[in-house]
Symmetry: D2
Subunit: 254 residues, 4 copies
């Protein structure tokens, strides 16, 4: 039975590519996303076509019980979850405070912070019993600095980062490796950046950035680092790292 | 008509003392706390006995509309809120993940992050119209590092800090000064530290720490810095500062 | 006998104004700067004309023994140094690595880091004996992030900031208060910014920035915060704070 | 001709193991250390016995010209330096300010900060011409917080970290990848930790820490991450990461 890598937030960007990378490394990838059954099945089919093993589920992370039930079902039906990739974003674009509803602010927290708490609550007891486990958390520069219009997103990501630290403080000694991956740049991801910009602007940007060869962050390449971190020897774990394209400025140099 | 200083979280520690300091400086202090009507009235009476002006309200910040309605009533009945002191804590002591309920985690966010978002949403439009305003936010080292057992608190404070930054990024140019005050130590506050430790341990600690002269942080002294920051010239604002007793170690030196 | 406030780096900007503020508060201000005897005597005369007490010395901080001898002479002739303001900058403008000589890099360290180590070595034993003392260190955003062309400056300021922390870790308990003041913006200072930009550009900038009323940081206003921090009660010291004009962006929002 | 990986500070700990890892990956490893010709030759012989390619040089990094001449000689005799591993430590143990001589403080800067500046000045022009290069910098938690007695070390490492950022800001776009590796824990390294503790205490510690299997950081395992970072695709570079044993506390949790 293959170990399971569970990806929460598996679109065609980071999530899907990380799932594919773990499948290539011998894991059964479980891909979860909120919508687009067709896109989901394409991801699964792509992995299987490459000789890997995967399943896909639509999952609305906001819905009470959704994450918890999926975890329980996987553990029962597919086997131990060895790696969780928590990849739900909470970026809603820049909005003035007056244009940020209470609901939007709470939604940011639901996806950005609470969802991570929920999945950690669900998987950590099992990982502790097994003496091992990995939780990789995609994050953003909004976790370390708040820009204008980012009220909901930055508050959510700031909470996410601190939660990664408290999880490590409790669980590292028990064999669970939590890593906070600070993505500092635009990812070549049609399902997120592409939708935010619109198809035309997205293609234009890809053109300017050198055919997406390097200017945008390539999710298949990012996935290599996710995979590496998940397989570090426990005497030398990385708990926080950044990822940024060579051609981009660090967030503090803009 | 005196300018109003609104304190959310006005116990006998930081909140009450900051209110007293602003009252001494010519403000009308509006003190809000969740419970203990008697303690609240003692604070108000103490300020008035010293020649100051104050009012007190019980306010449950979790309750929808509570903060918003209080702000509206103050602006109508008492005058412009020039200073907000957001002093609600979210510390619930160290709890393992398994002992941190979803409800406790959400409560941390309600008090630690969302409440600040709500009061900012309520007062910022008015402050922008007036071209000035101050929001002083009491915070904790949990905003910058997550310790074991602090899942709820650290996630809440990490969000609080990022929110302070996004508020500044939008509103500093419009004359609103948001300051994040990172309290790194134990405060000589019977209503919070005292209740967490219990009366006996609290008095014992005060004894060990030199009669509370210096070892614990004295809230009346902390209030001087809150007052100073609120009155900095707008060409030289402080947005983040720490406060710590001389006898204590910085959080990174423990 | 008045307590002494020793300012290392006392031009017409932060240093001179902080000296003036402390003189107004009852200190004897000792102003030291590398050159411009005339400007120095004007600062002294201005303080005396306002009823304060001051002396001025030309001091080349790079020269071995210069700082140490000045400290010894002050302690013997003028009395105990209660406050040190270490205000030497090390900004040389943006220079590519290829244009940054070893000498320039070392000079940055001499002024930015080593000079602070030297003055701390000279005054801390005396302050420890007296059980009190304050060291206020002007610093820059280069202490927390490195921008292009800032090789010498950022390395120097990064060292300065860590040194402030190690000094606090050793001396806070002995009554010495070290504060790292992170100046995040352009200061309305003819001797530094004025010289770097040239007289004409400097006046133009002051014009654009609203007659230097608010856009540039006004050093006389900054001095109020230096003075406040130096007089905080020891139960509530600030060890790090930023200063920025309301109209400016935080370094991470650019 | 094999690409060259130049290790400055190649003892039996991180430096030697990183050299060995790159040699295993097809590089010619050039190992430089200040003393112990015998230990150096053992490292070289070990690499060659494993089928790799290496050379060793004694190099006193403090000596003017030492680094620069070695770089020039390598480029002429061995080929292009593709990877630099700057692994010189500057830890001298905890010393009170009064026990930290000017010379010790300057030595910290020479090894911790200036040496990196010098090697960057030597290799960056060549790497820019070739459009690629990697500089991996071993660093310590002293780069981000100053503990008591760490005056020299923390000032040196604080400068080192900021210098990594300014190097990235100038050179990332030109294809040079600079990574700051924050080592947060004790490394199982006889040449550094072993010498600092003494042979007996070192063996005792290894015993307590589980036969050095996991409690101490294993340099051969750390080397895997150095190697990974050096080979990240340029669309997804890591510029800062920490390494810590699973059994250890993060520096902020102590």
């Amino acid at each position: 039975m293959k170990p399971v890598c569970l990806v929460i937030g598996a679109g065609a960007g980071i999530g899907g590519n990380v799932g594919r990378r773990f499948a290539a490394g011998g894991y059964h990838a479980v891909l979860c996303r909120r919508s687009d059954e067709e896109g989901l099945q394409q991801l699964v089919a792509g992995i299987e076509a490459a000789g890997g093993s995967a399943s896909g589920y639509l999952l609305n992370a906001i819905e009470p019980g959704s994450i918890e039930e999926r975890v329980a079902a996987i553990e029962e039906e597919l086997g131990p979850i060895e790696v969780v990739v928590y990849n739900l974003g909470a970026q809603i674009g820049d909005r003035a405070l007056a244009d940020t509803s209470y609901k939007a602010f709470e939604m940011g927290w639901q996806l950005g912070t609470f969802g991570l708490f929920r999945i950690a609550s669900a998987v950590c007891p099992k990982m502790v019993q097994r003496g091992k486990g990995v939780i990789l958390v995609t994050s953003a520069t909004a976790a370390v600095r708040g820009n204008a219009g980012q009220h909901s997103h930055a508050a959510a990501m700031g909470g996410r980062r601190m939660l990664c630290q408290t999880l490590n403080a409790e669980f590292a000694r028990k064999g669970i490796h939590v890593a906070h991956v600070l993505v500092d740049g635009m990812v070549d991801a049609p399902d997120t950046l592409g939708k935010m910009l619109g198809a035309e602007s997205f293609q234009q940007l890809r053109g300017q950035r050198g055919g997406a060869q390097d200017g945008l962050m390539l999710p298949a390449q990012m996935a290599e680092t996710y995979y590496h971190v998940a397989h570090q020897h426990r005497s030398a774990w990385t708990h926080e790292l950044d990822l940024r394209a060579y051609s981009d400025l660090a967030w503090w140099n803009h």
